[in-house]
Amino acid sequence: MCDCAKSDLTLLDGILAEYASVRGSLITILQKAQDVYGYLPTDVLYRVAQATGNTPAKVMGVATFYTQFRLTPVGKHLIMLCKGTACHVNGADAVEKAICEELKIKDGETSEDGLFSLKTVACLGCCSLSPVMMIDEDTYGSLTPTKAVEIIRNIRKEAAV
């Protein structure tokens, strides 16, 4: 098995009790597990496989197929930057560049202080406010490189106090 079997697997009990025997629930179970752990640790995937009667390969296959699932932990705040068509046309690339420079990370990485992770997505459905990003639950529209950096700095300031 893996060398990182440290997760508290009892946190899965409730989820598995509700869904493990319901056909076709693998994605739902992984979504709920990710809500609990923040990501999908390998030992959690093994536990889900065992409880649902799937092979670990099938569970891993699903977990790696969908972009929503993460196999590594994320920072405190998740920045989802839209790079959909409307946002592309309205300058999402420049916004991405500014965020990457500010946080010194690339798409998919987490800043050194563990505060922010950046993930680019294709369309948040707020295209008329493009370019758009979502930080955790909040959506920010009509971004410019400067505005995006300002928003991030404000969150960082709040975290410092």
Binding site: T28, F65, Q68, A86, G125, C126, C127, S128, L129, V132
Partner: protein, 582 residues
């Protein structure tokens, strides 16, 4: 008086909830009621506050900020709304809505999406009542056939035909599925319908479930739409509690359960067979068709899949008759279509128009044309499966056949407008970047073919294009189109083919002259300083990361083209507009 704030996702992103929170305490004990509605569709004016008296819209306030709350409360209290005129919508902007014909969106931005009674007040669930008490399964299908309703998810397949096939398929256990994956980036019609009028979707689905004989239904919603999921959950709970959903609906034998399944982020899951795989909890890899879902769908049982907007038209057709629906549109395309108008457009938002208007009508008449009075270059329809239509074809009518003839497709309704600053080669590259990432990898043509195309397009935009690249792209397009397993691969060449067809000169400029006519491709840009505009403030020289800019204080500066890495920082910092890009 009733004060209503538009709270769709985009309204909230623009600050609608903050306006609500600021207004709520001020309106206490004034007799005025504060409420919410969904997406009004005028995203360019959000946040929007409507003031109603006895069901009549007295004033529509736009771009409202929390700072305006006091003025609004004062006006409401004194019963004199004239001080709010500065916030009122202009006649020009009003025409954005007045020029539309709304069927699928008819309650969007009008009713409270979280209130079942609000839906009942606008004849909600009357169509279901009519169907269950007076119509047979075949009657329903015949009415839909008369209407000419075609699938709004992209392909435009006749809805009645699919329902009929599912109804006639052998077996008792059948499933109805709503495709709310809305994967086309730049499209948000389905999100708006679910967030603004969830019961309309439920009612349309129930009628379809009755027609095909399904007792189980699913809505597959993409993960990026949390608000849509919350509102739909509430609507399902409310409808179940009131007997519109569940067992013995409206006192009849008809029973139907509706469940939400949240997607997990995969574009290909919008394709119907991949969606079914995903519903079953597997990787969303498409299946070979036939067998079609009508025979072997979810759990290998007969299933019918329709798009959100398709279902949103159903109750109107039942109440008003298929003929009334068919009276709108063209010979081959009936009814209305919703578009999400975005990009470099002045007035962006949701537009529902009868089929048969032209692209020009939508973009210039309703959308107000291009921002900053730049020049229109192209409009992108149908997302990664669609294409770019140039100015010369702006008078193309909106109709499945006419749009397909251009090389684009009607698609699900994303309409992204581009101006002269958008590079069409880079646009094609953008879509291929998308399809390579979203290709599920099952078939070789799509998995490897799109990757090769992406590499070629990338090298062209980076100034490394070679003679023969255009022909190579065309050859690849041909092979992928005929060899790919599912719609994703088969249509992936469309953005490339249409841009080559209509903007070949841009490709040639990149390849032969190493020039990007739109000035978007960084590697092909040259930065120079206009000597007359430069004041010699030295800011750009200080900012330049590679020391490519030289010049004495108060003397015009110059950029060494050999050192320049084209990062554009000098242009950003220059306060005199002296840095020019070509």
């Amino acid at each position: 008086m009733r004060i209503v704030i538009g709270e769709g996702s985009c309204g909230i992103a623009a600050g609608a909830q903050k306006v609500y929170d600021a207004l709520a305490p001020l309106l206490e004990n004034t007799g005025a009621r504060l409420g919410i509605t969904g997406c009004i569709g005028m995203c360019f004016l959000e946040p929007i506050v409507d003031i109603y008296e006895k069901g009549l819209l007295l004033k529509r306030l736009v771009r409202v900020t929390p700072d305006d709350a006091a003025a609004i409360a004062d006006a409401v209290k004194s019963d004199d709304l004239s001080p709010l005129d500065r916030l009122a919508i202009t006649d020009e902007d009003k025409s954005f809505l007045d020029r539309q014909t709304r069927i699928a969106l008819r309650h969007c931005g009008v009713i409270d999406p979280e209130d079942l009674n609000a839906y009942l007040d606008v004849d909600g669930y009357k169509a279901l009542d009519k169907v269950l008490h007076t119509m047979s399964q075949d009657d329903v299908i015949a009415e839909i056939k008369t209407s000419g309703l075609a699938g709004r998810g992209g392909a435009g397949f006749p809805t009645w035909f699919k329902w009929n096939a599912a109804k006639n398929a052998a077996g008792d256990e059948k499933y109805l599925i709503c495709n709310a994956d809305e994967g086309d980036p730049g499209a948000f019609m389905d999100r708006a319908v679910i967030e603004s009028d969830p019961h309309l979707l439920i009612e349309g689905m129930l009628i379809a479930a009755y027609a095909i004989g399904a007792k189980e239904a699913f809505v597959y919603v993409r993960a990026e739409y949390p608000l849509a999921i919350v509102r739909l959950q509430k609507a399902i709970a409310d409808a179940t509690a009131k007997g519109y959903l569940g067992d013995n609906i409206l006192g009849t034998d008809f029973c139907c359960r509706l469940r939400i399944k949240a997607g997990a982020g995969a574009f290909v899951c919008g394709e119907e067979t991949a969606l079914i795989e995903s519903l079953e909890g597997s990787r969303g890899m498409p299946r070979l068709k036939p067998p079609f879902p009508a025979e072997k769908g979810y759990e290998n049982k007969p299933s019918n899949i329709n798009n959100v907007e398709t279902f949103a038209n159903v109750s109107w057709i039942i109440l008003n008759g298929g003929e009334a629906f068919a009276a709108m549109g063209t010979e081959t395309s009936k009814g209305t279509k919703v578009f999400a108008l975005t990009g470099k457009i002045k007035r962006g938002g949701l537009v529902e128009i009868p089929m048969g208007l032209t692209l020009r009508d939508v973009i210039f008449n309703i959308g107000g044309g291009i921002r900053e009075n730049k020049r229109f270059k192209a409009v992108q329809l149908g997302g990664p499966s669609g294409g770019c239509i140039p100015e010369a074809l702006l008078d193309t009518v909106i109709d499945y056949k006419a749009l397909s003839a251009t090389g684009a497709i009607m698609g699900s309704g994303g309409m992204v407008v581009m101006d002269e600053t958008t590079c069409m080669v880079n646009m094609a590259r953008f879509f291929l970047d998308f399809t390579t990432k979203e290709s599920c990898g099952k078939c070789v043509h799509c998995r490897i073919g799109t990757k090769r195309m992406y590499e070629i397009l990338t090298r062209i935009t980076e100034g490394e294009g070679r003679p023969g690249d255009i022909e190579l792209l065309e050859e690849l397009c041909d092979a992928i189109r005929s060899g790919a397993l599912c719609g994703l691969g088969q249509t992936a060449p469309n953005p490339v083919l249409t841009t080559i067809k209509y903007f070949r000169d841009e490709y040639e400029a990149h390849i032969n002259e190493k020039r990007c006519p739109a000035g978007e491709c960084a590697a092909l840009r040259t930065y120079t300083i206009n000597k007359d505009a430069c004041r010699g403030c030295t800011l750009c020289a200080k900012k330049c990361p590679v020391g490519a800019i030289t010049g004495a204080v108060k003397e015009p500066h110059a950029i060494d083209a050999d050192k320049c890495i084209k990062c554009g920082q000098c242009k950003t910092v220059c306060r005199f507009g002296a840095v020019e890009v070509r």
